[in-house]
């Protein structure tokens, strides 16, 4: 227990140092927060623009679609703040900085997360949280205690799922440094796709979103919450299934990260 507290203190100091460093460039910090905030606003405006042409998109109304958008953006933003730096491990490997990480007596992933911690990423969270509040207030849901409880579970498991994807994507860099761009297809592509009702996709992509497993981030729990038919056919098990799938993805991500670290050969120099 004492050790855990001591470690938490170290992590807190590392993060604190990063935050102070960020504040050295105040204009840049403000510009990045504003730009990330604007980006999320523009993502939402795009959805609203589509709804100016149609009353329902693939069976989902605007408030329902905004609920999907907001949950996706909140989960993605949170996971980005927490473990987004794992995606930068390719730079650490390329420049040999990963050696530095290895010689310190702390977990590698934790160090990366602290070392590259960026408070400015909260810019991505502000607007989605507001939209989430509005969507929760406007979607036609009979709020039983179970359904109320399902919302934080959705956010937690969605965040864990995206976080697992970040780490999986990052650990690919231990084998090939050029994998990052492809890995971003899953992270950023996943972020984009989960903002929309997955009913829009058909054919092979439907199977991909179930296997990858983006459908579990927010689509399935939201479909259950809003009483929508979903194409996976898990029905009322959706809210339980998402945390389970998230747990599996996180376990897999941890395993692949560890294997990656063991596989690591320094670039030398």
């Amino acid at each position: 227990m004492g050790e855990v507290v001591a470690r938490a203190a170290i992590y807190r100091r590392l993060v604190g140092a990063r935050v102070r460093a960020e504040f050295q460039y105040r204009v840049s910090f403000a510009a990045t927060v504003v730009s990330q905030c604007a980006a999320t606003v523009l993502d939402m405006v795009a959805i609203v623009v589509l709804f100016t042409h149609v009353p329902v998109l693939a069976g989902w109304t605007l408030p329902e679609a905004l609920f999907l958008y907001a949950t996706s953006a909140v989960c993605f933003g949170l996971s980005d703040v927490l473990v987004g730096p794992a995606g930068k491990v390719n730079w650490f490997i390329k420049f040999g900085w990963f050696d530095r990480v290895l010689i310190r007596p702390l977990g590698t992933l934790g160090q990366l997360a602290c070392d590259e911690f960026a408070l400015r990423r909260i810019g991505k969270l502000i607007q989605p949280l507001v939209v989430l509040a509005i969507a929760l207030a406007t979607v036609p849901v009979d709020w039983t205690p179970l359904r109320v409880a399902a919302v934080p579970v959705l956010i937690a498991s969605g965040t864990a799922l995206f976080g697992g994807l970040w780490v999986l994507a990052g650990s690919a860099s231990f084998w090939t440094l050029e994998s990052q761009e492809v890995a971003h297809t899953f992270t950023y592509g996943g972020s984009y796709l989960t903002q929309y009702p997955l009913d829009v996709v058909s054919g092979w992509l439907r199977r991909v979103v179930v296997v990858v497993p983006l459908a579990f981030v927010n689509y399935l729990p939201a479909a259950w919450l809003l009483g929508k038919p979903e194409f996976v056919g898990v029905g009322r098990w959706a809210p339980v299934l998402s945390p389970l799938v998230a747990g599996c993805v996180v376990a897999l991500a941890g395993l692949s990260w560890r294997t990656g670290v063991r596989h690591y050969r320094s670039t030398g120099s």
Binding site: S28, R120, T176, V182, H184, Y192, G203
Partner: protein, 249 residues
């Protein structure tokens, strides 16, 4: 410069994969909208899907997300070396960017379009004239995009860490250029605003040329924007030179 970028083939393949995937994602969303309509803002479903794949194909090439290396060189102080090269500063960076464009344009752009054509029906230009116009429109789009990114990179002379501005520029180009949703889908007022901004010259106009919706007029508009942005960039660079403080030592 062409050689420099052709050495990173892995990244090019990755770009093609991403462009294709996003092409599919966006196409599916638009197709869902067309379940209710024949046409939206003069685009039918085939136009919209073609728009998606062509823009996804050529977007990375035009490099709206690409951060000019200039930004990093301002930050690190390496820009000092560039400043005493016996070359016009802006032309030097434009040449670099055109080299990147020449390689990526050929290799990357085709893949998403070809993949899209396998899964959806796309509308290709019928005459050689349209292809020629499209080729010119792409080059002009690249120059406009460079002009925008050069201006953003120069902000680095004032704020050092210009990442936020670079991102912001990318988002603006993406949205107002019609990447997320084609500009023709926007409500009249918003579309009108987009038509007055330079961003449409980067994505919307070239694809409209591809679809045969626009002709030489669009190219002229692009050329005007390209010239205006280059002049502005040059003027801003001149001002930056007067206050340049080189980092490091």
């Amino acid at each position: 410069m062409f050689q420099r970028f052709s050495t990173y083939r892995g990244a090019t393949v990755a770009g093609a994969v991403i462009g294709t995937t996003f092409g599919f994602l966006r196409a599916y969303v638009l197709v869902a909208v067309y379940r209710h309509h024949e046409t939206i803002g003069s685009f039918d479903a085939v136009d919209a899907v073609t728009f998606t794949f062509v823009s996804q194909g050529f977007l990375p090439t035009i490099g709206i997300w690409g951060r000019l290396e200039l930004s990093d060189r301002i930050r690190s102080g390496d820009v000092a070396t560039d400043l005493y090269r016996p070359l016009h500063f802006q032309s030097y960076w434009l040449a670099q960017d055109l080299g990147r464009f020449a390689f990526e344009g050929l290799a990357r752009g085709m893949v998403p379009v070809a993949a899209g054509a396998l899964a959806f029906s796309l509308r290709f230009p019928t005459g050689r004239g349209t292809w020629a116009l499209f080729a010119i429109a792409l080059v002009l789009a690249e120059v406009v995009s460079f002009g925008l990114r050069y201006l953003v990179a120069l902000i680095g002379f004032w704020v050092l860490d210009n990442r936020g501005f670079v991102q912001f520029g990318g988002f603006l180009t993406q949205f107002f250029g019609g990447v997320i949703v084609p500009v023709s889908f926007f409500p009249a007022g918003l579309e009108g605003a987009c038509r007055l901004l330079p961003f449409q010259a980067v994505v919307q106009l070239p694809v409209e040329v591809f679809l045969g919706r626009q002709g030489a007029g669009a190219l002229a508009l692009q050329a005007v924007w390209a010239a205006a942005l280059l002049v502005a960039g040059n003027a801003l660079a001149a001002r930056a030179m007067h206050k340049v403080v080189v980092q490091g030592g």
